[in-house]
């Protein structure tokens, strides 16, 4: 947490507009008999930086994976940027190309170079000319501070570098919303900071972000809203200061005491 406070955060572009980016209403999901997500209602406005936390198995990853339909929901409604997610493949592809996603295990393509990882989707999905895609890729690689690694393969990079490439790869699609699924959980402590710094930078530019993370320092520094989930339900949500200093539910208090206590 100390590392976050050391950095001065520029809040001039962090503005939440009235425009709705994601609207989830009475959404339910089951894995077989298991009710993973129960009656989720959630509105995300453009420019919001939301941190989702909760104990493991609480459904937080499943929730953000529903937003780009890596998981299918069985009832309720999810509307992303005005497009409703249904079994219509066209809508799914449209949403996916507008929503960037960063995974816990990076999921870079090991058979392609860093640059190719970044240009693949723009070229094949957005039909951007190769040269232009490469320029964009280099721009974002510079932004995540690894332009010199562009011609290496993912296997040659450290975990932190790989995760930054994964962020750059998503940004190359110029997404309007970014989803982060425990982006620092698989990293060594030394590398967590470099990835969080990249995410803070993104937040400073006004990106709409939903992050599943246990980095409470990050939540306090950049989030405008923290959502606590347990047993597939949203138990509590609040702006970070209130959430951490004055939690309402017993479940939240217990969770916070466990995660912040050590």
């Amino acid at each position: 947490m100390e590392s976050m406070e050391a950095r001065q955060i520029d809040r001039s572009h962090m503005q939440v507009s009235d425009e709705v980016a994601i609207q989830i209403s009475s959404m339910n999901k089951w894995y077989g008999q298991f009710h993973v997500l129960r009656d989720i209602d959630m509105t995300v406005r453009r420019g919001e930086r939301i941190v989702v936390c909760g104990p493991s198995g609480s459904g937080k990853s499943t929730l953000i994976r529903c937003i780009n339909r890596l998981e299918e929901h069985q009832s309720g409604q999810i509307i992303v940027d005005g497009t409703e997610l249904s079994s219509d493949l066209k809508n799914i592809d449209k949403v996916r190309s507008e929503v960037g996603m960063v995974f816990q295990h990076f999921n870079l393509f090991p058979h392609l170079t860093i640059l190719e990882n970044c240009t693949l989707a723009p070229i094949w999905v957005r039909k951007v000319p190769k040269k232009e895609a490469e320029e964009t890729a280099m721009h974002y690689l510079t932004k995540v501070k690894i332009p010199e690694q562009a011609h290496k393969y993912p296997g040659q990079l450290s975990g932190g570098q790989q995760q930054r490439v994964a962020i750059a790869r998503s940004l190359c699609m110029k997404p309007r919303i970014m989803l982060f699924d425990e982006p620092t959980s698989a990293l060594d402590p030394e590398m967590i900071k470099e990835v969080l710094d990249t995410m803070i930078q993104l937040a400073e530019e006004g990106m709409t972000m939903i992050c599943v993370t246990h980095e409470m320092g990050f939540a306090q520094a950049v989030a405008n809203r923290v959502i606590f989930m347990d047993q597939g339900q949203i138990v509590e949500q609040n702006e970070p200061r209130e959430f951490f200093n004055n939690p309402q539910s017993e479940r939240t208090k217990l969770f916070l005491s466990q995660i912040l206590g050590h």
Binding site: N68, L70, L89, D93, K94, R96, S97, V99, G100, M101, F103, H105, F106, N107, L108, F109, P110, H111, L120, A121, W124, V125, Y153, G155, Q156, R169, S170, M173
Partner: protein
């Protein structure tokens, strides 16, 4: 570091030093590999004895080889009772072993087809080959067919036209959705081939006759037949195997059932049964009078057989890919076929290279089974050559020659696959 005193600070870093003399060079190699303990030493001595015995037995036979003879009797006269190999049979009958009964004045045609095969393979096998050659690779099957079987040039062209029609259909119907356009792109060309391609070829031939001498399939034989069946089977079984593997993992129940039934049926039946089906049973099912080339029927059966194995090999590669790769491709908005082509297949096929090449080599050697349905592959020709009174009783030399040629092809494939594995190794694990 003393046990009693837990505090320790290194003041100077140690430089790397050379290993002891017994740990380097030839001495180390001999010690580690040949005389590492009693068992190892005994085995080394036994192996040396076995090699000496083989050399003693086979050496004179090979050293006394006779290369110029026109019959086994002549060989025996030259050898005068000494042991010796009679390679004269290869010298005398090599053309037959390679081409069967193909007209000898036309040998240049299959030879040219073989040379062009390597040209056509270059852009597929080596990334350094000029990219433009890929067009020649696409045209090659038709060029090779025309060179080997001869006849009117319009027949292969009218068949090739079907693929063009298929592609055009795919483009024209692409707006109707992936499933519909894929089905249309298969059905339209098949209809064309069944109903119109013959007339198209005939019409073009009467307008502008371009013909070379036709050679019927029954005159084919020897390694030419093995290579035709082997290469076509290999080239077709890989894409078919990929489709079957994808089908077996598909979420669509119908496609999955078709793939599973096909794979399990074909894998559960001996190849020889399928070959007999091709040569005998198909005649009952086809309308009377249809002239469906036997070699073509065999190629179809061999391809189906190999593709069932191929599908399972590739399914293994697909299963080895982490789920995250599929998810990352999805999350970037790639559609199913793009994700397969750009992300999934390059990795799954790389993982499956040893298994794929295994299947290729198996397929190539299995082509010798066609001898049972009366095609004169090299083994069949060996019997035919022995049936001649000149070479009655000659076994070893023919089989060694045939084995050696097969070995060269299979070893080549094996080496290439190892090269490919090294070239594609980018994961730096």
């Amino acid at each position: 570091m003393g046990d009693r005193n837990a505090s320790y600070v290194r003041t100077e870093m140690m430089e790397p030093q050379a290993p002891p003399i017994t740990e380097v060079g030839a001495i180390r190699w001999v010690r580690e590999n040949l005389f590492d303990g009693v068992l190892s030493s005994v085995l080394t001595v036994l192996a040396l004895l076995a090699i000496a015995f083989l050399l003693h037995e086979l050496g004179p036979w090979l050293l006394n080889s006779v290369w110029n003879a026109h019959s086994l009797t002549q060989c025996r006269e030259i050898l005068q009772g000494e042991p010796g190999a009679c390679w004269g049979v290869i010298n005398d009958r090599w053309a037959q072993l390679l081409f069967g009964f193909y007209p000898s004045t036309l040998y240049w045609r299959p030879v040219l087809a073989l040379v062009l095969l390597f040209v056509a393979l270059a852009p597929v096998l080596f990334p350094s080959a000029p990219r433009g050659l890929i067009w020649f690779t696409l045209a090659y099957p038709f060029v090779a067919f025309w060179l080997i079987w001869g006849g009117s040039i319009w027949l292969p062209i009218s068949v090739a036209l079907g693929f063009g029609i298929g592609y055009a259909t795919l483009l024209a119907t692409s707006r109707l959705g992936l499933l519909i356009s894929t089905i249309a792109a298969v059905v339209v060309p098949v209809l064309y081939w069944l109903l119109f391609s013959g007339d198209v070829a005939g019409g073009l031939a009467s307008a502008l006759p371009l013909e070379i001498r036709a050679v019927p399939s029954r005159e084919f034989g020897g390694f030419m037949i093995s290579i035709i069946i082997g290469v076509t089977g290999i080239a077709l079984s890989l894409p078919l195997g990929i489709l079957l593997a994808l089908g077996r993992r598909s979420n669509m129940p119908l496609i999955k059932v078709i793939a599973v039934v096909f794979i399990e049926f074909i894998r559960g039946v001996p190849l020889i049964t399928l070959l007999f089906t091709a040569s005998l049973l198909l005649n009952y099912f086809l309308p009377p009078g249809t002239n469906f080339d036997l070699i073509l029927r065999v190629i179809i059966m061999v391809t189906l057989f190999a593709s069932a194995y191929m599908a399972e090999v590739i399914r293994g590669g697909l299963a080895a890919l982490p789920r995250g790769q599929f998810e990352a491709a999805d999350a970037l908005g790639l559609d199913y076929w793009k994700a397969q082509r750009l992300i999934v297949m390059p990795q799954a096929l790389k993982i499956s290279i040893p298994g794929i090449v295994n299947t290729f080599i198996g397929l190539f050697k299995d082509t010798t089974l066609v001898v049972f349905i009366g095609l004169l592959d090299p083994i069949g020709l060996a019997s035919a050559i022995r049936a001649n009174s000149d070479w009655q009783g000659i076994y070893w030399e023919l089989f060694i020659f045939i084995g050696a040629i097969f070995w060269i092809f299979c070893f080549g494939m094996s080496r290439y696959s190892m090269h490919l594995e090294r070239r594609l190794k980018t994961d730096h694990r």
